[in-house]
Symmetry: C2
Amino acid sequence: MAEPQNTNKRIKLDDVAYELIYWPGIPGRAEFIRLLFEEAGVPYRDTAKDESEAVSRVMALTDADNKGDKTNVPAIACPVLRHGDLTLSQTPNVLLYLASRLGLAPTQGNATYQLNQIVLTILDFLSNEVHDTHHPLGVASTYEEQKPAAKKRAELFKTDRLPKFLVYIQRILDGEASGEGPWLYGGKLTYADLVLFQGIHGTEFAFPKTMKKMRDSGKYDGVFKLFEAVGDRPNIKEYLASERRAPYSHGIWRHYPELDDE
Amino acid sequence: MAEPQNTNKRIKLDDVAYELIYWPGIPGRAEFIRLLFEEAGVPYRDTAKDESEAVSRVMALTDADNKGDKTNVPAIACPVLRHGDLTLSQTPNVLLYLASRLGLAPTQGNATYQLNQIVLTILDFLSNEVHDTHHPLGVASTYEEQKPAAKKRAELFKTDRLPKFLVYIQRILDGEASGEGPWLYGGKLTYADLVLFQGIHGTEFAFPKTMKKMRDSGKYDGVFKLFEAVGDRPNIKEYLASERRAPYSHGIWRHYPELDDE
């Protein structure tokens, strides 16, 4: 696995190979994908940053008339990645495709599946389930219409699901397969570490008091050490401080103080 | 992609290459995986069928002391697949690993990701979201403790998410990439078709009246034609009628009449 180099920053040319299509104004699920490009220093066209067409590009994906093309099936939702003739959706699927190409995962073998397993689990807990804490009944209804249910779901998330997840990640880090250093697999930074970083970063925004308790408990020191190590990567640090990083607002990770711990 | 042959039925030998670890007594998430083995006619050891050790095998996976081994990270939940030195979890990950090995997906290229995209979407809607109709607040609380929330979540599932999903699958089938015949991709049966079959089968058990309305609407004829075509496959037919197929009960797909349509 090649050590990724930040060889090429913020080039926005017509011939950039990768195009990412997502809603404007929020980090959202696309943020997992952006972190791979940013860490690898590989340029990508981010349609969310194009004010004039960001929304229409997303809407076109799920238009009833969009039935894909000869080799690509249509998408049900963004993020969508376009790369040459390929159009891909589903966050873990896009990550799987990109990781080996960006030097953030091996190209084949057992490790491919080990990393995919870890990434699917992180996305289940820190993206899908955190989202459902504010929308437990469905996205066709507003948060305000489902506040009591959200309160209960958030409670079970904080007391049951979140500790279960952190215990699991700490088990991975304590295990032999994670190797030396702070990383999740094979003693090297992989895309799984970037995905975990974003999941924790978003969950700390949504539940700052709960996450502080988790951090202060000392039970998951490996998890938070990994989080710090990713945040210290030069390309990640530069990205987080840049205007390219959208602030959290009404996406996956939302901060409703009433859902957080006292 | 080789046409799978049912060369080897129900052989339960010590040297069977594949072992599936799952809870006994329910189809559950493992059922997606079983259908691949059954269609391909490839023998597999199913620990759920071993009364004396089924539960202990599952419990051992998530034991706090289980930190995986030199190359395998531990699992947070079953189903788990063991194959040689490999131990894998996360349903879509196990399916991705198996599909090409069982002749139910190409071994590489664009199609790998197209199929993974479809499968992830089917599992999101017809496994995870159907599960959440009876447990919208969390699995640490019983259905009886969350009935009003379940009623609302089921309502939004039936009126918003389920039609959205069926429209999407019909879009795929109407698109060029699905090719000729009833299948989802490339004009050939793939594991995505088997996964869709199980998702619809389970959802018809959970919501028989709702699904009948969807079927009778005539809007999703391709989807239900595919469902019938998979059910007519000789190996699938034989499996469904066998004792190996566990009945639905209190797993992912549950039938609570009060959550179904009137």
